[in-house]
Structure formats: C-alpha cells, structure tokens
C-alpha cells in the first residue's frame, strides 16, 4: 500500500519481531502441510472444508485454498443447505476478509462465484425477487468500498458487473449511477476510474433518459473546464475531454462541432497564457485543431509552432509529436 511510512523500531523490538515472525512461519507450515495432505488425497469431507477455512482466515491470498473450497462447497452441501453455506461465506467475506483485503483478486473472484451460484439456486427455486434484492445489496457494498477508497479499481469493475446483472433483471439505475460518478469526481477529480466509468455510462444514461448527446455536451465541457483550469497537470480530465470531443465530432452536426471546438480552443489559449509550459494544454490544442476538418495555412502554422514547443519541453517524445503535424492545407 502506498503512503505507509517505514517505522524504525529500536533493536529490542526489532529482534522481538523476528522471533514472533519465525513462530508465525512455523504455524503456517503446520497448517499448510495438513491442507496439502487433504488436497492430495482428494478429500471431500467437512474436515477438508474446515481446513480451507483455517488456511483462508489466516492467509486469504492462498488461491489454491479458494479453488479447493469452491470444489468442496457443492460437494459437501446441496440445495437449501448450499444456499445457506454460500450466504455465510458472503457474510464472512463482507465482515472479515474483504475489509482487510479490499484489493485481492482471489477474494473478489470468490465473491463473484458465491453470488453467481446463489443466483442460480434462487432462480431454480423461483425466488427471482431475492436475486434482485441480492444484487441491490451488492451495490450498497460497493458504495462502502468506494467510500473507503474511491480509487479501488476492483470495486469500480465490480460495480459495472452488478449494474449489468440488475439490468438483465429489468432494474435500470442509470440516473443514480450518473449522479454517483459526478459525486466521486467532485470528491477527487484525479479519480481516473470515475471518469472512465462516466464515459461508459454516458450513452446508456442518455438512452435511459431519452435525451440527446447535444443537450448534455455543454455541461460536460463545463465540468471538464473546471477540472483542467484547477489542475492542468492532471491527466484524467484531459483524456475524458478528448474522448467526448471526438464523440461530438462523430455524432453531432458540423456547425455545432465547429462552434464547440472554437470556444474550447479560445479557453485553452487563455489557459496556455497562464501555463505556457504545460504539455497537456498544447497537445489538446493540437488535437482540437486537427479534429476540425477545415484546413488552412494559418492552422498548419499554428500546429507547427505548438509541435515545436512540445518537442522542446518534452524531447523524449519528439518523434511522436512530429506525427501530429498537419499535412498541407
């Protein structure tokens, strides 16, 4: 985890820590040997299940134990009892394992597997409503994770999956999700995951609300302008900006696009005056000037001068910048 300070303890505490660690390693070997013995014997009893619990409680990254557990659960239980066992696994993950390991792939995978298996069982038992309730609950859980760490990409990815599950069951939440990304961006606009999620959500949200892209473009641009005027060195907002302007160029009519490009270029010129060495502003200006299909000698000259400046301040990428030059007007 980044941001953790290295704490220097005195010699006595250091030596003590080594002794405790060696003891912990001994305990691990004992538990591991027992687990491996059962696994090799293809034991499918409750004892084996218990050994996976023992292993995973102490070492939740031990993915072999998760795999074995997923074989054992349906072997040991079935029907309602299996549903019960899956529920208690989920509670265990929520209360104990995930708070301590919010970014473990194996733990998220196990959660997914439990939910998918549980969903099939519930559907087979004609409890469709319970399935919907289950996925709604998952959304609340994801919110909690994102409150604790708004940049946990596992949680963001999982959020998309949950939303899709709900959609396939006829529950549409685009409006709420749209508000959610707005709030996460407001909390920290360097949150690339939030911007990225927003870009996936935009077309779905427009469709759900039955409104045109045209009518929301200006609001999105205002949000973006605020982001790069506040912090021009933050990449996330520039990337979203380029994506949305390209989308506008593809989908909206030429006059509208030209007007938007012109006003954004004017704003970026003002920003460039204040921040003459910021490469993001310059590359974005080149992008916008290129996006507008109109060509002229002046434009080519402007792009040329921007590219030269970029090559000066960012010499490692000079060849890349050279590819941005416009062909003859």
């Amino acid at each position: 985890m980044h941001g953790r300070k290295i704490i220097h303890m005195d010699a006595a505490a250091e030596a003590a820590r080594k002794i405790v660690m060696l003891e912990q390693i001994k305990e691990y070997r004992v538990k591991l040997d027992e687990f491996m013995r059962l696994r090799a014997a293809k034991d499918s009893s409750e004892t084996a299940l218990a050994s996976t619990t023992t292993m995973l409680s102490a070492y939740p990254d031990h993915y072999t134990a998760w795999n074995y557990r997923r074989e054992l659960l349906p072997a040991v239980y079935s029907g309602a009892a299996l549903a019960q066992a899956l529920q208690s696994d989920l509670v265990w993950l929520t209360k104990t394992v995930q708070p301590a390991n919010p970014k473990s792939y194996w733990v998220w995978n196990h959660r997914r597997w439990c939910l998918d298996t549980l969903a099939s069982l519930l559907t087979a038992a004609s409890k469709g409503d319970d399935v919907v309730a289950m996925w709604r609950n998952e959304l609340l859980l994801v919110n909690k994770f994102l409150e604790l760490d708004a940049r946990n990409f596992h949680a963001w990815g999982y959020r998309r999956e949950v939303i899709h599950h709900l959609e396939s069951l006829g529950v549409f939440l685009q409006e709420a999700e749209w508000a959610f990304t707005a709030s996460k961006i407001a909390q920290n606009f360097s949150n690339y995951s939030a911007w990225h999620y927003r870009s996936h959500l935009l077309p779905e949200w427009l469709a759900a609300k039955n409104i045109s892209f045209d009518s929301v473009l200006d609001d999105e641009l205002e949000l973006l302008n605020n982001a790069f005027f506040t912090e021009p060195n933050d990449q996330s907002s520039w990337l979203y900006f380029r994506w949305i302007m390209a989308k506008a160029a593809r989908e909206l009519d030429a006059d509208r696009v030209a007007a938007a490009i012109a006003s954004q270029v004017a704003l970026l010129d003002e920003l460039l005056d204040m921040e003459p060495t910021c490469k993001w502003i310059m590359t974005c200006l080149v992008f916008l000037l290129t996006l507008d299909p109109a060509r002229s000698a002046e434009k080519a000259a402007r792009v040329q001068s921007l590219v030269s400046k970029l090559q000066e301040i960012d010499p490692f990428r000079r060849d890349y910048y050279a590819t941005l030059l416009l062909s003859d007007a």
């Binding site: 006595a12 505490a13 005027f229």
Partner: protein
C-alpha cells in the same frame, strides 16, 4: 525533613504550560510535585458545565477567573440536568494546525495516544466586505482546503481558479516564492500582504479568502507584511491533506483541560506526585530552597511543608504570602473581546464543526476581523442539537455585528455570554522560579505551546543521563510504544515456551 517531602521541582497550577513543564521534568527523571488548589485541570483553558458557565462573573459579572472578566449573560435557555452536564465550555478554545509543533509533540512522544481530535468540516469567510448584503449561510464562502474545493466552487471564475491554484502551489515552497517575487527576501518585508496578493491577481473575494481565511489575519491586510502573510499562508497550506480536507483539528471533550490532563498523566507515570483541590497556605524562599505550605487536612491543622530548588508558576496565580522575586506580571493593555453564543441550528448544514471569519467592514480601517469557532455535539462540548459559537475580536461592536451576520434571526440566538480576556504575560524569571506564560487570546495552540518549550529548554540546565545525549536536546522523550511492548512480551512468551520444552526433552 522527610526526604519524601523534598522534590526537584514544585509546579503550581494545572494549566497547559505548567502541565507541559511537569511532564518534561518527570520524564527526564526529576522528582516532581504538582499541586493545584483547583479541583479541575486546565487553568485558563478549563471547561465548564452549563451551571458553572452561567455562574461565571458572580453577582455583578466582575468576578474574574484566570484573566477572564466582565461577564454578561443574556438568554432564557433552560436545559435538563443531563443536558446541562453535557456542556464542556472553554472560554478560549483553540485549534491545532494539522502540521504544527503541537501535533508533532503529541505524535512523536505518544502523548496523543490518549487524546481524541476531530477535523474541522470547513472554514468560511463572510462576504459582507465585498458588498454582499446577505446574512446567514448564503453569505458565506468556503475557504478552499483542497483542489477539489476549488474545482467545485460555483462562485470562482475559471481564470480565478487557475490563479488561486498557482498561488497555492508557488507559495508552498519558500524558495520558489522568494524566487517568484523578484524583490527577494527584503522586498517581502516592505511590501504589504495586500500588495503581494494584488500582484498575484488576487482581489476582492479571493483577496479576503486569502487574508482572513488562509493567512488568518485579524487586522487589515495592508498592515501585515508580505513575508508575515506568506509565513501564515504556508502554515495553512502545509497542514492541508495531512489528516483530511481541512488544516485544523479541534480537541474533543474540552481541549485545554484534556491536553493538560494527558500531560499530567505522563508526569504521574514517571513518578510525579499530584495534590489537587487543596488550598495553598504559603510559598516562601530561603536561601536556595522554596518551601510550599499546603493545607492537606482541615484548616485547623498545620499546613504540610514541601521543598524544592525550583518552582513553576503562571502569572495569574494568587497565593497568600507569595514572595516573588520577579516584577508583577505585565497585563496586556487591551483585552480581547469574546462571546459564546448558543444556538439550536447550525449556521451551515454542511459544516457543523467549522471556523467562520467575519472580515472587518471596508469602511473602517481600524476594525478587525472576528473569528468564530462553530462547535457541535460531535466534540462532546454541548448536548445534541445545540451548537456553540465562540467569537473573538477586538471590540464588542465587532463581535455583535459578526454574530448577527452569522445568525441573523434573534430567535435562533438562544443564549449569549459576552466577556473579556486579559492574557497575562510574565516578565523574566528569577532565581529558582519559572514563570510560564498564560495562554494567549489567539486561536492557534502552537502560540501557547512553543514559547513554553523554548523557555524550558533555555532555562533548564541539561541533566546527566537526559535523553538525546550528544544530540539536539529534546523537550519530552518519546514514551514507550505499547505495540512494541506487546511484541516484546509475545517474543518472550515464545522463548520461554521453547526453553521449557527443550528442557523437557
């Protein structure tokens, strides 16, 4: 004389300064006796329940407490017994900058382990100065404490946002700031802070936000030098983001007394003896030795005598028969005006623990800003659904104006108490006596702690075996870390278990 009654230091009063000194002496192995006639911790920073608070000032309001006087209580508030006890009202509450000497002291030594703090939810400027005629929450502007605050503001223009962020970023680094201001270090002393802000295109609302919300000036920004204003700006900026989205911490449960108690606990752990709530009969000096006479048993019994070569007192202490070799304490010519307002609704719903600054009106160059600390039940200083607004300023008129601007409806102002504070300052210490400063009227706790530490280091000869031998001198050596102790105990258990098992073989 019983050696039990002989000490290295006798400390009188449990104010913050005395408690710091008691802890420092005890931690390095001195035998400390810490006494106080009062039964409560904190001295001038002590906190009061509701009945105690409204009784301050006595019959005519003139009965003083630790430099506070001229009390005027107005209001018809009535509280249940339980609610009345839920108040812990401090007369001069303090804030800690998240990056400060105090936080460093408490975190490096571990004294802070037993203390609880809350981050402020925001600080705000009232916009009356730039022509807004509104009152209440709508006329307050959040002081940005992060780039997200700047991003989200609906009142700052795009270009101003850029200017604000540039100013934040350049000025955080003193070298960069000096380089940016071509005049260099000297220029900063002659230019006013206002000129410096204008030179960076920060005017009107932004200028006020910076002068009063960030640099926390109380007077006009044309009267502060650029270097003074920038030093304070830097303190604010370096405190941002350390614990969250505000540069300020407030202590829970009534700060001053909690902090004093925590330090007294340290002194006690290292052998300090405490006698609280017993009257002092006399304090006299003969040769190199002070003798303290304390009334431990009833008034008909002779006082018990304790001796020490050094006593530590603060200038507000009044002792019968005290013979001080120092001049009488110099009192500030001007009192700070203060008020405590009790309301049933917060000024702003989004910031119940907050700082509001009402800048002086533009028409009056002599007026000063009023700082209002807005506290809520989260700090455990008042019951649920009540709020304490503590205002400080240089005139009664300024205070009245500020409170009306923030809480415009008279029916919301359930109770208000006005009073004044004379922060006593001591003159030089004499032989064998350390006169620590009383707390100042300002809001920054560093101003009350740093001078005490400096004074102690300067006036206390180094002791043999004191921590940090050969290195830079420490005021208070770190306390043992309970986590480390736990690990050491755990390791010992393991070794013992191995030892006994190998013996069994």
């Amino acid at each position: 004389m019983d050696p039990e009654d002989q000490f290295d230091v006798i400390v009188v009063g449990t104010g913050l300064a005395q408690s710091l000194v008691a802890a420092a002496h005890a931690r390095r192995g001195d035998k400390v006796l810490h006494v106080s006639p009062s039964g409560a911790y904190g001295g001038a920073l002590a906190s009061f329940t509701w009945p105690e608070f409204v009784a301050l000032g006595g019959e005519d309001g003139k009965e003083s407490f630790a430099g506070f006087s001229d009390f005027e209580h107005h209001g018809t508030a009535e509280f249940s017994d339980r609610d009345a006890r839920a108040f812990a009202i401090e007369l001069c509450p303090k804030l800690l900058y998240c990056q400060s000497a105090v936080v460093d002291l408490f975190s490096t030594t571990g004294v802070g382990r037993h203390l609880d703090f809350k981050l402020l939810e925001g600080s705000f400027i009232h916009l009356n100065r730039t022509g807004t005629t509104g009152a209440g929450a709508a006329a307050t502007e959040r002081v940005p404490a992060s780039k997200e605050d700047v991003f989200s503001s609906k009142t700052i223009s795009l270009m101003d946002k850029r200017r604000l962020m540039k100013f934040f970023n350049t000025n955080l680094d003193p070298a960069a700031a000096a380089a940016a201001g071509a005049e260099g270090e000297e220029g900063m002393e002659t230019t006013s802070f206002r000129e410096y802000l204008h030179a960076n295109d920060l005017r009107d609302t932004l200028e006020d936000v910076f002068a009063y919300g960030v640099a926390m000036l109380t007077g006009d920004s044309s009267k502060a030098t650029a270097s003074a204003g920038l030093a304070r700006t830097r303190k604010y900026l370096s405190a941002l983001g350390r614990f969250g989205n505000s540069p300020f911490l407030a202590s829970m449960y009534g700060g001053g007394s909690e902090l004093a108690q925590s330090l007294c606990r340290v002194a006690a752990v290292y052998g300090g003896v405490y006698i609280l709530g017993r009257p002092i009969a006399s304090l006299t000096r003969s040769g190199d030795t002070w003798t303290l006479g304390m009334q431990l048993d009833g008034p008909n019994h002779p006082p018990h005598a304790f001796t020490a070569p050094r006593v530590v007192v603060d200038p507000t202490v009044e002792l019968p028969g005290l013979v001080t070799p120092v001049e009488s304490p110099k009192i500030e010519d001007e009192a700070t005006h203060m008020a405590v307002l009790v309301t049933r609704a917060p000024v702003r719903d989004d910031a119940k623990l907050a700082l509001f600054v009402v800048p002086p009106p533009p028409t009056d160059a002599t007026a000063h800003a009023v700082q209002v600390l807005h506290m809520c039940a989260d700090l455990r200083v008042c019951p649920e659904s009540t709020y304490l607004l503590h205002a400080r300023g240089t005139s009664r008129a300024d205070i009245d104006r500020a409170l009306e601007l923030l809480v415009p409806k008279a029916e919301d102002r359930v109770h208000v108490t006005h009073f004044k504070y004379w922060a006593a300052r001591a003159t030089a210490a004499g032989e064998g006596v350390l006169v620590v400063p009383a707390p100042g009227a300002g809001i920054d706790l560093d101003d009350d702690v740093v001078p005490v530490i400096e004074q102690w280091l300067e006036s206390t000869p180094r002791k043999e075996g004191e921590a940090g031998e050969g290195e830079e001198r420490v005021f208070l050596a770190p306390l043992p870390n309970p986590d480390d102790e736990q690990v050491i105990n755990e390791a010992q258990r393991i070794l013992d278990a191995e030892g006994s098992s190998s013996k069994g073989e």
